[in-house]
């Protein structure tokens, strides 16, 4: 027995619901405009001068603002709260330094939107660049990825002096984020090591 068709009929009702979805989605976009959030780390071509320090991982299409972060008293290092930003540990060598190691950390966000969500997918040999802007000058330091490793939280804790000690490294770059999401928490870290290739400095055009 054929069922009675509704006022709009089944196909028509489905179309209406999909239309509602689109409208709600547009509303969310509107909310986004009312409550602006930082721009996502979409691939932004460097057309203008960096307005601050920037970490660039071309293979991930990441270009994230780089800020200084401090280690807590209990030796924990947290990235900037804004997951689109990355932070370098203020106790490590400054980005572009000739000695020591520059430790940069950024968030992995399970639902997406973290600066270093895809850090574990980079390959050895790929470039990483850090731009630093100063008064009238910009410094660009190039690095080349030399290793991509995963550590458990325990391994990080026990190997921290070796991994993050500043008496080594010749200015190399360490990128670290979380990995091993089990639905509730992260159980490890992805650590990428990159060799410092050199620094270029140029004057900003007035």
């Amino acid at each position: 027995m054929a069922r009675k068709a509704g006022l709009l009929g089944p196909a028509r009702q489905a179309t209406l619901l999909e239309t509602i979805v689109v409208i709600v989605a547009l509303s969310i976009a509107g909310v986004g405009l009312i409550y602006p959030s930082p721009q996502p780390p979409t691939p932004v071509k460097l057309i203008g001068a960096p307005t601050g320090d920037v970490l660039q991982v071309p293979s991930l299409k990441v270009q994230a603002p780089l800020v200084s972060v401090k280690m807590s008293k209990d030796a924990q290092l947290d990235p900037p709260r804004n997951p689109r930003q990355v932070g370098y540990w203020s106790g490590s060598s400054a980005p572009g330094a000739l000695t020591g190691q520059t430790l940069v950390t950024g968030h992995t966000v399970h639902t997406g939107g973290g600066a270093l969500d895809k850090l574990g997918t980079v390959k050895v040999g790929q470039p990483v660049v850090i731009f630093r802007k100063y008064s009238g000058q910009v410094q660009r330091t190039k690095y080349r990825i030399t290793s991509v490793k995963t550590y458990s939280k325990k391994q990080i804790a026990t190997q921290a002096p070796t991994l993050f000690g500043q008496d080594r490294g010749k200015g190399r770059l360490l990128l670290i984020t979380c990995t091993g999401w089990d639905g509730q928490e992260y159980h490890g870290n992805t650590l990428v090591t990159a060799k410092r290739l050199g620094t270029e400095v140029a004057a900003l055009r007035a």
Partner: protein, 436 residues
């Protein structure tokens, strides 16, 4: 032997970034902060002006090291000289950067054939030494400009010093033959010197090398001379035997080599005495007709011979000036080291502007210093000394969700999801019912 200690080589700061908004010109000057310079062998011998082995240099501006020159100059670079025919010249230098400090090291010298260069700044020796090497200057015109007749002959004429050595009755006659007597004295001296011959300076060693290091506020320098000796060889027919000086292995800084050249001065004095007092010699033949009693000639000329002998003293002092482990410091961060510095008749420098012959072996210069980074990194933890005792042991860099998305949005998203899911369910139900 160890490998050359590598220096920290940063990429040049004076490059440009290929961004449209950046000026194309380099922004930073590349002033030298530190350097190591090494020259195995420098020679300056009459007739072969300033022939050198060349120099190897490493310079560092704090951002990168630049090198120039050859580490192992071939002997042919010395041209047609015969100073050294076989052996190994080696010179090496490096710089390194730690923090904002540039340090340097240099090593240079010569060794036997087949010797190879060892580490710079890290070992006792520049060389893995092998055979003995010898430098032979060839005959040096040592006695050029040599004049022991000061006070006796002036402007080709005898002075009162000479004339007054004779009885008063003869002085006028001697003055009358002044030019002839003067020429005779000079000729006699030349005859003596010709007999002695011009010496060759021969340096022999298994190795002679100089090393230095420098960093901010500290320098080191040293010289090694392995089985090294120095000889003045007047030739097989000379009445003067070769004068040999053994050189110490580990000389103190600026150690002078005392050379006993008394045999040379004695030979000159004896030769002159014999020539001038010989009753059948040219001077006697000249003085005899003037009434000089030739039997007393030796006694008469003794004061003159004595005066000439006194004036040979400078030969001992000046004919050969050898300094080992010669060090010159400039400030507290630069040092110049020469393992062997030999000057032959340096007194000639006053007349000629340079010594008759000079040889420098193992000549190095090291400079250290500090630099200001091209761009002073803000927020530099400067934790270079943190060897790991105070480093993060936990990096909490994972989030379940994006905290920057407002809660209201999340609620709306959740609602949207539910609505969308419900819509799909309704549609599926309708479609299902439609099939019935």
């Amino acid at each position: 032997m160890t490998a050359l200690r590598g220096g920290m080589c940063a990429t040049a700061a004076a490059l440009t970034i290929g961004l449209g908004v950046l000026a194309a010109s380099p922004a930073l000057a590349a002033d030298e902060v530190g350097h190591g310079q090494a020259s195995a062998l420098n020679v300056g011998i009459a007739g072969m002006s300033n022939s050198v082995s060349g120099q190897y240099a490493a310079s560092n501006d704090g951002a990168k090291q630049t090198e120039s020159g050859s580490k192992n100059p071939a002997l042919r670079v010395l041209g047609s000289q015969s100073l050294i025919s076989q052996g190994t010249l080696a010179q090496d230098a490096t710089t390194s950067v730690a923090g904002r400090v540039v340090s340097s090291a240099a090593c240079a010298g010569l060794s036997g054939e087949g010797a190879t260069l060892a580490a710079v700044g890290s070992s006792d020796s520049c060389f893995a030494s092998t055979d003995t090497v010898s430098l032979n200057s060839g005959a040096l015109d040592t006695f050029k400009n040599f004049d022991p007749f000061t006070g006796i002959i002036a402007n080709g004429q005898l002075t009162d010093t000479f004339v007054n050595a004779f009885p008063a009755a003869l002085r006028d006659a001697i003055r009358g033959a002044s030019a002839q007597i003067s020429n005779t004295l000079v000729a006699a001296l030349q005859q003596v010197l010709d007999a002695i011959g011009n010496p060759s300076l021969i340096v022999g060693a298994d190795a002679i090398e100089g090393q230095c290091t420098a960093t901010r506020g500290a320098t080191t320098a040293d010289a090694n001379l392995v089985d090294a000796g120095l000889t003045l060889d007047f030739g097989a027919n000379s009445p003067v035997d070769p004068i040999t000086v053994a050189l110490p292995v580990d000389p103190k800084p600026n150690q002078k080599v005392v050379t006993d050249l008394s045999a040379l001065t004695t030979a000159i004095t004896d030769g002159l005495t014999t020539s001038l007092t010989n009753q059948s010699g040219p001077l006697a033949q000249l003085l005899g007709p003037l009434g000089v009693a030739l039997g007393n000639l030796a006694d008469t000329l003794n004061p003159i011979i004595g005066q000439i002998s006194d004036q040979l003293g400078p030969i001992e002092d000046n004919i050969l000036d050898i300094t080992l482990n010669k060090q010159t410091k400039t400030g507290d961060s630069q040092i110049h080291e020469t393992a062997l510095d030999a000057q032959v008749l340096p007194a000639a420098a006053a007349a000629t502007g340079s010594s008759l012959a000079s040889i420098q072996v193992g000549d190095v210069d090291c400079l250290g210093g500090t630099f200001t980074p091209a761009v002073n990194p803000p927020g530099d933890g400067g934790n270079g000394g943190n060897g790991g005792s105070n480093v993060p042991t936990s990096v909490d860099a994972g989030l379940a969700g994006d905290p920057t998305i407002p809660t209201g949005v999340m609620v709306a998203l959740g609602a949207l999801f539910l609505v969308a899911a419900g819509g799909v369910g309704v549609r599926q139900v309708k479609l299902h019912h439609g099939k019935d």
